[in-house]
Amino acid sequence: MTHALVQPLTAANGLAAHSADGRPMADVAASFIKANDRLTAFERLEIYARSYWFRLIDCVYDDCPGLRGLLGERRFDALVRAYLARHPSRSFTLRNLCDRLPEFIRATPRLTAPRTALAHAVARFEWAQTVAFDGEARPVLTPGDLAGTPPTRLRVGLQPYLSLLELNWPVDDYVIAVKQRDALRSAASNAVDHGPRAVVRKRVAVPRRRRVQVAVHRLNNRLYYKRLDRPAFLMLAALRSGRTLVQAVAAAGPRVRPEDVRTWCATWMELGWLCRRE
């Protein structure tokens, strides 16, 4: 039954006429499901197949408004179905449904061409939001934790819920704009008077190429995006990869001044980003 469920629906959202091994699906269904006076075995199986697909598709729609805005309805829908066919859920929770979407976008560029790289960036950014929303938080680093270990040996961890992204487009601004557009659209669709529709239907402009470094994190359990200077980003990335504090400062580049590092570290500690390494 699972094989039949996870097989993609037809263009009309029906159960496929043939199973993956080529047998007529009506025969497959009838081999284990009883018909009744109203529905054939095929039709009964189809109820389950549709509900399987619609539930999962809905979930990706909820998690990826930016990607949907970028690709448009038709291409986004095709991408989601292809993704779910290739990567059915491997987790007890739908929270993790999109964890392999960025990788899938890169592996199947034809589904997003010519905007594959941008789509990949948006998908990474949207997955980072899921991580920031309910990812693990470790006890934050206190000044006391720093005392007693020389900087050459000190390794500092970053909160697991924090994602560091270097992107070739300002995807953060783009996703905010799409969400604002969608919020307006849903407010308008709830209204009796459809006057403002023309205004809110406008497309959000595709971002222009510009390299940005963004941290996706949470503070007091609210989601935030924070732009970082490239040296600060490089230092954080080095900490994440397990470098010592001294190595991480070196990774930030030769032009970084000690007072910059002090300011950054004070900010990061205030934001609760730094924690002890496991």
Partner: protein, 290 residues
């Protein structure tokens, strides 16, 4: 049965499901609600807002955990890491009992996120009961299994759904979360008598009930949880309550969720049937002693 070993000897009244659109209202207004049912999986996370909200709710309200991913009927063995995560949540909520569905939904680690009906065979009942016992022993909390709504029946089934449910819960020595809407939906889809179902299960094992709304299509009924409870379901609920005794009852409303007050008012409609059942109870007791 008001209080029994399957619901941790509690006597809970009418509850509603804790849902995201109502968080703000509940935390700000602190409405009087007897208890909330939470979907365990929504809080089996490592941190962030969900657990913050849960802790605030737990300060004010009684919470019962309801799961959607245990898949007692799946052949896969329960994953220990998953159970450990669930147990941490059980300790956090102090849920007096825990419910999940009599269904399957995963194969070799692939999850359908659906509650799929089981073949009603003795072999499946034995295997399922074993899994329920294992999970209960691990979690150290009473378990009630819920009957699901279904749209398909299998050739291999050897018994009715209520015979299968009875077989499983007797073998596992666990409770029943009787979803009367699911009984009604399946009865319509498969053409059986929903009253025979309610009369056919071990009533002393019912630790909780569910009511919900459904949607009628031309050839079948879909369990949509996006409507008020329909009259025939309330009627069946009244019958179940008379037969099983007044039992902790929860209204499920999961889609097109209206205001908190609307959901709560709908749930409280159960009170009128509970009153009737209470009035009928002394007579019932004298009959059952014979």
């Amino acid at each position: 049965m008001p209080a029994n070993s399957f619901n941790g000897q509690t006597d809970y009244g009418i509850g509603i499901g804790l849902r995201v659109p109502h968080y703000q209202h509940i935390l700000a207004k602190k409405p009087v609600v007897d208890w909330f049912e939470i979907i365990s999986e929504n809080f089996m996370v490592d941190g962030g807002r969900p657990l913050e909200v849960l802790d605030q709710i737990l300060e004010q309200y009684r919470v019962v955990q309801h799961g959607v991913s245990m898949y007692f009927g799946s052949a896969d063995r329960p994953d220990r890491a998953h159970l450990q995560k669930l147990k941490r949540l059980v300790r956090r909520t102090k849920t007096p009992w825990l419910s999940d569905h009599l269904c399957w939904g995963s194969v070799d680690g692939t999850f359908t996120h659906d509650l799929l009906p089981m073949p009603y065979t003795l072999a499946a009942a034995k295997r399922t009961a074993e899994k329920i016992r294992y999970v209960r022993d691990f979690l150290e909390v009473p378990i009630c299994v819920e009957n699901v709504s279904s749209y398909a029946e299998f050739h291999v089934s050897e018994m009715t759904e209520w015979e299968f449910l009875s077989e499983v819960v007797e073998r596992a020595d666990c409770g029943v979360l009787l979803d009367v809407n699911n009984i009604y939906v399946s009865a319509q889809n498969h053409g059986f008598d929903p009253y025979a179902y309610v009369n056919g299960i071990p009533s002393h094992r019912v630790g909780q009930m569910h009511v919900a709304g459904h949607t009628k299509f031309e050839k079948y009924i879909l369990d949509t949880h996006d409507h008020p409870v329909l009259d025939p379901v309330w009627k069946l609920y009244a019958h179940a309550t008379q037969r099983c005794g007044v039992t902790a009852t929860l209204l499920e409303w999961d889609d097109k969720i209206p205001s908190f007050d609307e959901v709560h008012d709908e749930a409280l409609k159960a009170n009128q049937f509970i009153g009737d059942a209470r009035a009928a109870q002394p007579a019932k007791k004298s009959v059952s002693r014979k």
